[in-house]
């Protein structure tokens, strides 16, 4: 973790000197299987096709395990199991009993938190600090939170009579594998539905550990089915005629395909898609904390965050100072072994994503933007990118328009409030935004004018199960989390709850 000096007149020397010894989290307590099967109808079964695919550790490029590739016939089997469980067991169970199962899953996840965190880090490349302190605790909290709603559905939506939907098909991305599974499964179960869930092909392992936990919890067979596979598996779920609800988190491109596929089928749909969120810094902001928030906003989880604050707008009067501080801060970030407890930025999730990020860095350079990358050394094997800043960027630059989904920040300056609101909203996306100012009235002004589903004031990337999350425009529709997230899994009489 030694670092090279960068040239400045006044130099802060963050390199070498007193360095942190390697501090890797132990993996001794984790025993991965060689092969993971599908979880259908309460049993772990081989895929009908007999096909398996490897899942690798992006930090070492080594294969971790073989994972079953579910095809259409496996999906059909899972949906039938889910339907049977819904009709015969889950919808007949008292709400209080349903809640008990969800609580039990949450507690078992907590008991196995360390194992889940390590496997998440191995499979996804994210740092152990984040798996341990963010992903796993938040995933547990989603189950705890929604367990509480299970027996209070009748009181959750005043003047509405609610009922469950049936079978929910859920497709989740690779950036927060376990957490996204929790976001999807917990409200679906609390609302009384059964589930067929497909994790992403690059990160299937924690979903399979969750299947083991669910199995151990004694949840009735077929209530939760977990199928691993590629896009074709997801398509089979989306197109299955006996599914009542599709919930998808992933790219806008795939989201559009799904929306077309379910049009006219009567399937309820929520989409949580991409983003190019604006982080807006005014001159009166607490600058040092804002710089932290910007760093957290874009470099959290290697920038693989749909709501990443990837477009920074800085008021011109403080731009020079802020950019200088960002550069200094970049040089204190440790990039490397995701299992090391001191690593700040881990591995890029896959070779494919690494190529995408490199492509955009090249586009940025070709567009004439000024690039600054941290001076840290990065490991020779595995998929790594240095945290990168681009200045001299315009609204018309592609790197400021398109979602990069990596540790790359574009920086633009602004002069007036109206200008920055206009620029922030000038995007096909509308997932999140951040506002940094010491002035309370300005925060409220901004939050009412920015078209984004989530707006953070003087912080960024804060998540809580009680708080709804979702986007405007091409960032999708529907909300996950909170009461709104519960409503997305319920049929409402006397008018449907608007997503």
């Amino acid at each position: 973790m030694t670092k090279k000096k960068h040239k400045e007149e006044v130099l802060f020397n963050f390199n070498g000197g007193w360095d942190y010894s390697p501090s890797p989290e132990s993996t001794g307590h984790v025993k991965l299987k060689e092969r993971y099967d599908l979880y259908i109808d309460g049993k772990f079964v081989a895929p009908n096709s007999g096909k398996y695919f490897p899942t690798t550790n992006p930090a070492t490029e080594k294969v971790l395990a073989q994972v079953a590739h579910a095809d259409e016939s496996d999906v059909d089997k899972a949906v039938k199991a889910a339907r049977k469980a819904y009709e015969n067991v889950w919808s007949k169970l008292s709400a209080k009993e349903r809640g008990k199962y969800i609580y039990r899953i949450a507690r078992l996840m907590q008991e196995k938190a360390r194992e889940l965190a390590v496997v998440e880090t191995l499979d996804a490349g994210k740092t152990i600090r984040e798996s341990r302190d963010v992903d796993v605790p938040l995933a547990c909290n989603h189950f705890f939170y929604y367990a509480g709603w299970a027996d209070k559905l009748a009181y959750a939506f005043p003047n509405r009579t609610v009922s469950s939907l049936g079978v929910a098909g859920q497709i989740i991305p690779w950036n927060f594998p376990l957490l996204m599974a929790a976001w999807k499964i917990a409200p679906a179960l609390a609302a009384g539905n059964t589930v067929v869930l497909k994790p992403a092909e690059t990160t299937p392992l924690t979903a399979m550990l969750l299947a083991e936990i669910i199995h151990e919890s004694g949840l009735p067979a077929g209530v939760v089915n977990i199928l691993t596979g590629y896009g074709d598996t997801g398509a089979a779920i989306v197109n299955h005629p006996d599914i009542n609800k599709i919930a998808f988190t992933g790219s806008t491109q795939v989201g559009k395909i799904i929306q077309k596929a379910v049009a006219g089928t009567g399937k309820k749909l929520t989409l949580e898609l991409g983003g190019k969120s604006a982080n807006i810094l005014f001159e009166d902001a607490p600058i040092d904390q804002a710089v932290e928030g910007i760093v957290n906003g874009i470099f959290f989880n290697q920038g693989h965050v749909c709501c990443a604050g990837s477009r920074l707008f800085v008021q011109e009067s403080v731009a020079e100072e802020v950019i200088q501080k960002l550069k200094d801060r970049l040089d204190t970030l440790y990039v490397g072994d995701p299992l090391d407890k001191n690593t700040d930025i881990g591995a890029i999730n896959s070779r494919e994503q690494l190529d995408t990020i490199r492509k955009y860095i090249k586009i940025g350079k070709d567009e004439g933007a000024s690039m600054y990358e941290s001076s840290c050394e990065i490991p020779k094997t595995g998929y790594f990118v240095r945290p990168t800043l681009f200045t001299d960027v315009a609204q018309s630059s592609r790197i400021a328009q398109e979602e990069i989904f990596g540790p790359v920040l574009t920086i633009q300056t602004f002069r007036t409030i109206d200008e920055v609101i206009q620029k922030a909203n000038n995007s096909p996306y509308g997932l999140a935004a951040g506002v940094w100012t010491d002035k309370g009235s300005r925060i409220f002004n901004m939050t009412s004018k920015l078209r984004a589903g989530v707006i953070w004031a003087n912080t960024y990337n804060k998540f809580d199960p009680t708080s709804p999350f979702g986007g405007y425009k091409e960032s999708g529709f529907g909300r996950e989390g909170g009461l709104q997230g519960l409503g997305a899994y319920l049929r409402m009489e006397n008018g449907e709850l608007q997503n």
Partner: protein, 306 residues
Amino acid sequence: MNRNKTFKQIPDFKLSPTVDKVGVEERVARFQTRSIKNESKVQGLKMVLNMIDLTTLEGKDTPGKVRQLCYKAQHLHDLQEGLPTVAAVCVYPTMVAEAKKALGDSGIKVASVSTAFPSGQSTREIKLLDTQFAVDNGADEIDMVISRGKFLAGDYNFVFDEIAAIKEVCGKARLKVIFETGELASLDQVRRASDIAMYAGADFIKTSTGKIQPAATMQVTYTMLCAIRDFYRKTGVKVGMKPAGGISSSKLALHNLVMVKETLGNEWLNNEWFRFGASSLANDVLMQLVKQETGHYQSADYFSID
């Protein structure tokens, strides 16, 4: 080492940067997740020992007590080889001569509190005499307190002028300016006090007297480190940092070093630019160092109390 640079432009201290407490707490929590193990732990602990201002500031201090403390400063734990000495011994002005004599040519500095420590409730004349007395008795460093009453009343010019006046009396002695952050109440005020002190000539800025709680919380120290960083960036002048009071465990001390390293870089990781004001920290660090070598924690009775 001590600076006598004055600045042509002094900023309006009413406009000192604002500080967001929640953000600071979050940043500090990140420092505390750093895992310091093995070689870096041993190296860090030795650095901590070498940065300590071993302190006795009591009404009941006597030359005898000070002599014992000075012996401890030079012989932290003779059973353990390769240990550094502490940076300085910190005493009241009346004990400076005794400490100076006891420390001889050990290289350990004598720091003296002054300016009607700890309340600072006295006249300018008395504060100057108090400081002059300490300097005349051979103090290498002066730890002054600011007039918190004047500061909280918004009389920043008074506070500035007082620091500048004391700095003049210090001569070759380095000046540490104590804010008593436990009385300033907010991080915005800590930041403002830091800016005033640095522009007025402080060689070090220091959190607390040790007489008021809370004292050197990581939040306060971090805010001051940020002020030092900005000041260095603007003026090219380095200022030292001394958290004092409340740091009694090795773990907390190491997390303070992490904070210094990641905020100001390696140049500040030595006792010329960073000190711990502490009386009980040294023995905990010694206990940890012995444990690193032997694999066992020893009873507190194996470490001398002076």
